[in-house]
C-alpha cells in the first residue's frame, strides 16, 4: 500500500460513492412509497387487497435480490421497456426492499392500541382522520428505528447493483483492482469508505431509537 496508489484510487472510488448514495436514496424512497401502499393494502378490510399484497410481499421476500436485479435489467427490456443500469438498480432494490418496508409499517400500525382508535372515534373522528391524526403519527415513531436499519441495509446492498454494471463504489473498486492488481489497497479503501457511509447512519439510528423510545414508553398508562 503506498500513498500514491491511495491518492490515485480515491477520486475514482469517490465518484462511485456518489452513485452509491444516489442509488441508496432512490431505492429508499421507492421502497418507502411501495412499502406504505403494500402495508395499507395488507391491513385493508377488503380481502382482495390484503391477499394481493400478502402474495406480492411473499414473492419478493422469496427471491434473492440479485435475481430480481437481473430480471429487471435483462428481462424487462425484452418487453420493450428500456432502462439504464442505474434505473434498473434503483427500481430493483426499491421493489426488493418494499416487502421489508411493508412489514415494518404494518407492524408499526398494528402496534397502536385499539383504545386509541376508540377514543378518536368517540370524539366523532372519521376513519381517514383517525389514520392521519392518531394512527400514523404514532406508527411513525415506532417504525423509525426499523426504518433506519432498513436504510443501512439498502446502503450495503446497493453494492449488488455492480452486478448489472452500475458504476457504483463496489464496481469502481473491482475495476481498479482488475487493472492494477492492488487488491489489498483497493478493497481496504472500499471497506473503509462503506464504513464511512454506514457508521454515521447506524449511530443516527441508535440515537433516534433512544429519543423515540422515551416518548412511547409509558404511553396510555
Amino acid at each position: 500500500m503506498d500513498f500514491a496508489d491511495i491518492s490515485a484510487f480515491f477520486p475514482i472510488l469517490l465518484k462511485g460513492a456518489v452513485i452509491t448514495v444516489q442509488i441508496t436514496i432512490g431505492s429508499l424512497l421507492l421502497s418507502t412509497v411501495l412499502g406504505l401502499i403494500l402495508a395499507l393494502m395488507k391491513l385493508s378490510p377488503v380481502k382482495a387487497f390484503a391477499v394481493t399484497a400478502g402474495t406480492i410481499v411473499n414473492v419478493i421476500r422469496g427471491l434473492p435480490i440479485i435475481v430480481q436485479l437481473f430480471y429487471i435489467y435483462f428481462v424487462i427490456p425484452e418487453l420493450g421497456i428500456q432502462l439504464s443500469a442505474f434505473q434498473a438498480g434503483v427500481i430493483g432494490l426499491g421493489i426488493a426492499y418494499s416487502a421489508y418496508q411493508a412489514e415494518n409499517f404494518r407492524a408499526g400500525i398494528e402496534a397502536i392500541d385499539a383504545g386509541q382508535i376508540e377514543a378518536a372515534k368517540s370524539i366523532g373522528m372519521k376513519s381517514r382522520l383517525i389514520m392521519r391524526r392518531v394512527v400514523l403519527p404514532q406508527a411513525f415513531r415506532i417504525t423509525l428505528p426499523p426504518y433506519g436499519n432498513t436504510s443501512v441495509m439498502i446502503l450495503k446492498d446497493s453494492s449488488l447493483a455492480s452486478t448489472i454494471t452500475v458504476a457504483e463504489m463496489t464496481r469502481a473498486g473491482q475495476l481498479i483492482a482488475a487493472s492494477t492488481f492492488q487488491n489489498t489497497t483497493v478493497y481496504t479503501m472500499l471497506a473503509l469508505m462503506y464504513l464511512a457511509l454506514s457508521l454515521p447512519l447506524i449511530f443516527g439510528v441508535n440515537r433516534l431509537e433512544r429519543y423515540f423510545g422515551k416518548g412511547v414508553k409509558g404511553a396510555g398508562k
Binding site: D113, G115, Q116, E118, A119, A120, K121, S122, I123, G124, M125, K126, L129, R133, V134, P137, Q138, R141, G215, V216, K217, G218, A219, G220, K221
Partner: protein, 242 residues
C-alpha cells in the same frame, strides 16, 4: 334522551346482552353496576356505536344509533365517552388532546378551541398541566384530561366506562369530584362503576345487570340499601364487604 329498547348482542356463540331496555332522561345520572361479564360495558359501548347490536334499537334524541351509518360520527360528537384506561393521545400534549375534537372534527378556530381547552383543564383542576404530555401525568390526572376532552365537544351526554377502575385508590377521589360537579351542573351521565358510594350519592338511578339483563333498577338509595332481587343482594354483599 337515550332510549335503549330490548337490545341483544352476541360475540360469536355467546349472547352477552339478552334484551336490555333503558331510558335515560336529559340531566339524569344513571349508574350501571354488576359483576364482570354482566354486559354493562357492552351496553355503554353500544350507546355510542363502538359496538354494534344484533336486535332491538338504541336512539339518541330520536336518532337511531347504527355503527355502520354515516350519521354515527355526528352522534358521537354529541355523546362523549371516558374510558377505563383513559386512552389519551400520547403524542400530543394535554391541551392538544382536549383541542383535537373541536379543531379537527368541529373545525373551530384554533385560538378559540385552545382558550376553551384551557378553561376546561382549569375546571378539572389541571390548569398547570396544559403543556404536559400524558406520560408525565398520574392516572387520575390523565383521566381528568380525558373528561375535559369529552367536555370539549359540548356533548349532550357523557358515558363513563369504569373511569376509576384503573386508578390507584388515592387518585380516585379527584376524578369522582369532577364527575360529581358535572352531575350537579345537570350533565346527562351513564356510568359503569364499582364505586358504590359514588353511585349512592350521585346517581338518580342505579341499574343492576346480571347475565346480560337488567335484573333490577331503581332509585339509587333504595336499590343500594334495600335491594329486592337475590342476585343484587348477593352482589352488593360481596362488593360492600370485600
Amino acid at each position: 334522551m337515550i332510549t335503549i329498547d330490548n337490545i341483544h348482542k352476541s360475540f360469536g356463540e355467546v349472547e352477552v346482552l339478552k334484551g336490555v331496555s333503558l331510558e335515560v332522561k336529559a340531566g339524569e345520572v344513571v349508574c350501571l353496576i354488576g359483576p364482570s361479564g354482566s354486559g354493562k360495558s357492552t351496553v355503554l359501548r353500544c350507546i355510542n356505536g363502538l359496538e354494534s347490536y344484533d336486535q332491538g334499537e338504541i336512539s339518541i334524541n330520536s336518532r337511531r344509533v347504527d355503527t355502520h351509518s354515516k350519521d354515527i360520527n355526528d352522534l358521537r360528537t354529541r355523546v362523549g365517552m371516558v374510558f377505563q384506561r383513559f386512552n389519551l393521545f400520547p403524542h400530543r400534549s394535554v391541551v392538544e388532546n382536549v383541542m383535537e375534537g373541536p379543531v379537527f372534527v368541529k373545525h373551530e378556530p384554533r385560538a378559540q378551541a385552545r382558550q376553551r381547552a384551557i378553561e376546561l383543564l382549569e375546571k378539572v383542576g389541571l390548569g398547570d398541566k396544559v403543556e404536559a404530555y400524558p406520560s408525565q401525568l398520574s392516572g387520575g390526572q390523565q383521566q381528568r384530561v380525558a373528561i375535559a376532552r369529552a367536555l370539549a365537544m359540548r356533548p349532550d351526554a357523557i358515558l363513563f366506562d369504569e373511569p376509576t377502575s384503573a386508578l390507584d385508590p388515592e387518585l380516585v377521589g379527584d376524578v369522582l369530584t369532577v364527575m360529581r360537579d358535572l352531575a350537579a351542573e345537570g350533565m346527562t351521565m351513564v356510568v359503569v362503576t364499582h364505586e358504590m358510594s359514588f353511585a349512592k350519592e350521585v346517581a338518580d338511578r342505579v341499574c343492576f345487570l346480571y347475565g346480560g339483563k337488567i335484573v333490577e333498577q331503581g332509585n339509587a338509595q333504595s336499590l343500594l340499601s334495600a335491594p329486592q332481587h337475590e342476585r343484587t343482594q348477593d352482589f352488593l354483599r360481596r362488593v360492600l364487604n370485600h
